[in-house]
């Protein structure tokens, strides 16, 4: 059966089995992946998969089953199972599916990978690293091409078809000079094509150069309260607390510190955060949400004001809040006015935080963790790479104590972030 027929069959069978409402997502995917392992390109993977996700509501009770088989017998078993699961659950009037929307088809990226080009780009990257950065040990580097076709249907008549093809590149490495070793570092990007050499992508060049400097480090000499410049590579670690705190789990359980903060100032007014899953700006976005709506772009924090929680249909129904027009992710932070180098020059005493190894922030935003692959800044100059240095603070306070936001940003394909300096962070 083709995907549309499978989706139709699933919805019909669920209806026959007694489902009040149902939805079904059917996807076929193929991934090609070239792997560098411990410095050598030595593994080529091809994986095929299918996925059928079935969700039903019976008497306001819900259940979800996922399988990766498309034969009739497996689907019939899955239908039986999901009905049993839903009937075993508890009624909740917040359970629902998306309403009727016009049928739409979406398409993005190549249909087939260019394997020779994938090999050539990875080979070229490894050659560059070996030639120009001989002390780098490339533990892993992966280039992949993922292509998928999917159909989403629900019993309200929604039908979306999607085809996507996307390249990805990621790496992980350390520098080793004699017996001295740097912390590991790495980055990942998504791309629609292989036009740009990997070394020019994301933060690859900067991180490789820094790793070489970081084989010899020292701790900061004293505990102080200063300004940290958070790079685009680790800004997501801090933003994740805010976006997690405005999502279903925290809002429903009432443990979010932002639950009553809609349309209020929650960060410095220079800070603006968007989720742009369908923007041309974001390569690796998405077209439809998990609960069956076409995704739209949104501004989550506009000049410091929280404009929306990231509630799903269920979360919105459960809390009386507004459903978000997307499922989060595809984040873009607006650029500031100063180049990052000028921001660093303005800092009297602080840290350039390139990677953060932190404990999960407590529910009120308190955090602490180790500054990795990072540098001590004094009198506007980067002094030396650091180790055994902890930073601590409170994330909601941090975003209200922004020093500056850089005009330069890094585009990782799945997010676009600037450098941001935060004042009043404890360094020890």
């Amino acid at each position: 059966m083709i995907q549309s027929d499978i989706a139709n069959y699933c919805i019909e069978q669920l209806k026959k089995a007694g489902a009040d409402k149902s939805q079904c997502a059917v996807s076929f995917s193929e991934q090609k992946e070239l792997n560098v392992e411990t410095g050598e390109m030595s593994l080529f993977r091809t994986t095929f998969d299918t996925n059928i996700g079935l969700s039903v509501i019976v008497d306001q009770k819900s259940g979800t089953v996922a399988i990766n088989k498309t034969d009739t017998e497996s689907i019939d078993d899955a239908v039986k199972k999901v009905m049993d699961m839903a009937q075993s659950s508890q009624p909740d009037e917040a359970n629902d599916i998306s309403p009727s929307q016009p049928q739409q088809s979406f398409s993005k990226g190549d249909e087939e990978p260019n394997m020779d080009k994938m090999y050539q780009r990875l080979d070229e990257f490894m050659d560059y690293v070996k030639t120009t950065h001989p002390t780098i040990n490339m533990e892993a580097a992966i280039v992949d091409f993922s292509q998928s076709t999917s159909v989403f249907r629900n019993s309200n008549g929604v039908e979306f078809k999607t085809r996507e093809g996307m390249y990805g590149f990621s790496n992980m490495f350390t520098a080793k000079d004699g017996k001295d070793t740097s912390s590991f570092n790495g980055m990942g990007i998504s791309a629609l094509n292989l036009d740009t050499p990997f070394i020019e992508s994301g933060s690859a060049k900067r991180l490789l150069r820094q790793s070489i400097e970081q084989v010899r480090t020292k701790p900061v000499s004293e505990k102080f309260t200063g300004e940290i410049v958070v790079t685009p590579d680790c800004l997501g670690d801090f933003l994740g607390f805010i976006t997690g705190d405005i999502s279903d789990g925290k809002i429903i359980s009432k443990t979010s510190i932002y639950k009553e903060k809609l349309n209020q100032q929650i960060t410095d007014p220079r800070f603006t955060l968007h989720a742009r899953p369908i923007s041309d700006e974001i390569t690796d976005g998405y077209f439809i949400t998990d609960d069956g709506y076409t995704a739209e772009n949104s501004t989550i924090i506009d000049k410091g004001v929280l404009k929306t929680h990231l509630l799903s249909l269920y979360g919105a129904n459960k809390t009386g809040g507004q459903r978000a027009v997307n499922g989060g992710g595809a984040y873009v932070v607006d650029a500031g006015e100063k180049p990052k180098d000028e921001i660093i020059k303005s800092i009297k005493k602080g840290i350039l935080l390139e990677r953060f190894s932190g404990g999960r922030p407590s529910a009120d935003g308190e955090f602490s963790g180790v500054a990795k692959n990072s540098y001590y800044i004094e009198n506007g100059e980067i002094q030396y790479p650091i180790s055994e240095t902890m930073i601590s603070g409170n994330i909601q306070e941090m975003f209200n104590n922004i020093g500056a936001i850089s005009s330069d940003r890094i585009d990782f394909g799945y997010c676009i972030f600037p450098w941001i300096s935060f004042k009043g962070v404890t360094v020890s």
Partner: protein, 461 residues
């Protein structure tokens, strides 16, 4: 999907060195938030994969269907992939992997009748109902009942054959309370190896433990900020296990050693206190089955314990066949894959410090001013062995006695340095069975240990 116990009938498709694996991962999860069912999910992902090795390169392929034709297709696709690599690079031509032979079957599925979905929803509701009734002052309650079965069958061109069904199941309870307008939360995980029917017997079994959990939450809500900086601490088993796994274990995985980890230059040297012996157990500790038992790995190598550190001296790295060949040693069965579509990677199994001779009480009594850290929230480590662990629960120690609870914090240090400061190790052993380790793929791991006394850096303002 029916996973045959023996798939060697498909070996006729092999031409070169080949590993063939048929696998199904089944996951079931019921989540309650403040009494509402917010998750009621089941999934089964299965299929067949083949990995082919020739002239120093690997080809891998997987597909969700499993029959003779599908096996033929994945072996062909893997072979074409390795041929593509061999055409591009001949520099490792002639490389041969060590021959390993094993034949084993192990099935940890329950022998009891399987309960239906309603039973487990009601189980979770009874747990939740108890907390709601007894502790109405709580801000929120989250109860999760979850189980994962990994069932796999392997056949290799070396002649290895294995079948295993390794389930894990858990009850996870998270409670939160409001303190000064801010939420404070704490979780506890119960369960481990085995299906739900064997692990989660009666909701009432957990009531005393839930009382203790809420008691600890209230202590934590009233907790003090720990003093930042280097402190004397006792890391209870949960923390010692994560230290063994994250901070030392990863640096001794041979692929990370080849990637430049600090342990690469330390073989045969005294790297930590001579009180310390660190072992990655394959499947059994003192006659008891470990949380994540592995008898044959996914390359067909029979599993045995890897003694990483013996009396303070670094003795071994963990290997797959290829790294063992590189280091001219034998693999111990550490090559493991998570899903049917994943290739085996060098992974830990059940990593733990070997218990010592001290009692926990004597260890606490030996500290005038320090901390007893009992529960982690997360952990990360580095090629340098520098680590960071979130501390979800802990207490101050004053004049040899447990004092007030502390607020959440983190600890950090260079593991090889921190473990030089260990001067007492408890005789009690405790395993943590809920671990998932991320390294390209996620994989279940066991961690554990006794309590250890050492000096670490505590974060805080």
């Amino acid at each position: 999907m029916n996973i045959p116990h023996d798939i060697s009938q498909y070996n006729h498709h092999f031409k070169d060195y080949t590993e063939l694996r048929v696998q199904e991962n089944r996951v079931a999860r019921i989540s309650l938030t403040n009494g509402d069912v917010t998750g009621n999910v089941s999934s089964a992902q299965s299929g067949v994969s083949a990995r082919v090795f020739k002239d120093g390169n690997w080809g891998f392929s997987s597909a969700p269907e499993f029959d003779d034709a599908s096996v033929g297709r994945v072996v062909k696709s893997s072979t074409e992939n390795v041929q593509f690599m061999n055409l591009k690079d001949t520099s490792r031509c002639g490389l041969i992997l060590p021959d390993m032979m094993a034949e084993y079957e192990m099935d940890f599925s329950t022998k009891k009748p399987r309960e239906n979905q309603k039973y487990w929803v009601d189980f979770a509701r009874e747990v939740d109902g108890y907390i709601e009734k007894k502790f109405p002052e709580l801000l929120s309650r989250n109860v999760v009942v979850a189980g994962t079965d990994m069932e796999k069958s392997l056949s290799t061109s070396d002649g290895s054959k294995s079948y295993s069904l390794t389930p894990r199941s858990f009850l996870v309870v998270t409670v939160a309370i409001e303190k000064d307008g801010n939420p404070v939360n704490l979780y506890e995980l119960f369960g481990g190896l085995g299906q739900m029917e064997d692990n989660l017997l009666k909701p009432s079994d957990y009531f005393p433990k839930l009382d203790e959990l809420v008691g600890r939450l209230k202590q934590k809500a009233d907790g003090i900020f720990p003093k930042a900086g280097e402190q004397n601490v006792i890391l209870d088993a949960d923390l010692a296990g994560i230290l063994a796994h994250e901070a030392i274990g990863h640096t001794t995985e041979a692929d990370l050693v080849l990637g430049g980890s600090v342990a690469g230059d330390l073989m045969g040297q005294e790297v930590v206190s001579p009180l310390i012996t660190l072992i990655d157990y394959a499947n059994t500790f003192e006659g008891e089955t470990c949380p994540v038992p592995v008898y044959v790995d996914d390359e067909g190598t029979p599993s045995k314990d890897t003694v990483i550190i013996k009396d303070g001296v670094l003795k071994s790295f963990m290997h797959n066949k290829e790294s063992a060949q590189h280091f001219e040693t034998q693999p111990d069965g550490n090559a493991r894959a998570y899903a049917f579509s994943d290739e085996p990677l060098i992974r830990m199994r059940n990593t733990a410090f070997v218990p010592g001779t001290s009692s926990l009480e004597d260890m606490i009594a030996s500290i005038d001013d320090g901390y007893y850290l009992t529960k982690s929230s997360n952990g990360q480590a580095d090629s340098t062995s520098e680590f960071m662990f979130g501390i979800a629960m802990g207490y101050e120690i004053k004049n040899g006695k447990i004092g007030r609870a502390i607020k959440e914090t983190t600890i950090s240090g260079i593991a090889f340095d921190v473990l030089k400061t260990v001067d007492m190790i408890s005789k009690e052993m405790s395993w943590s069975a809920g671990g998932m380790c991320g390294k390209k793929q996620w994989i279940p791991v066991g961690m554990g240990g006794p309590a250890i006394k050492c000096k670490v850096n505590i974060g805080g303002r």
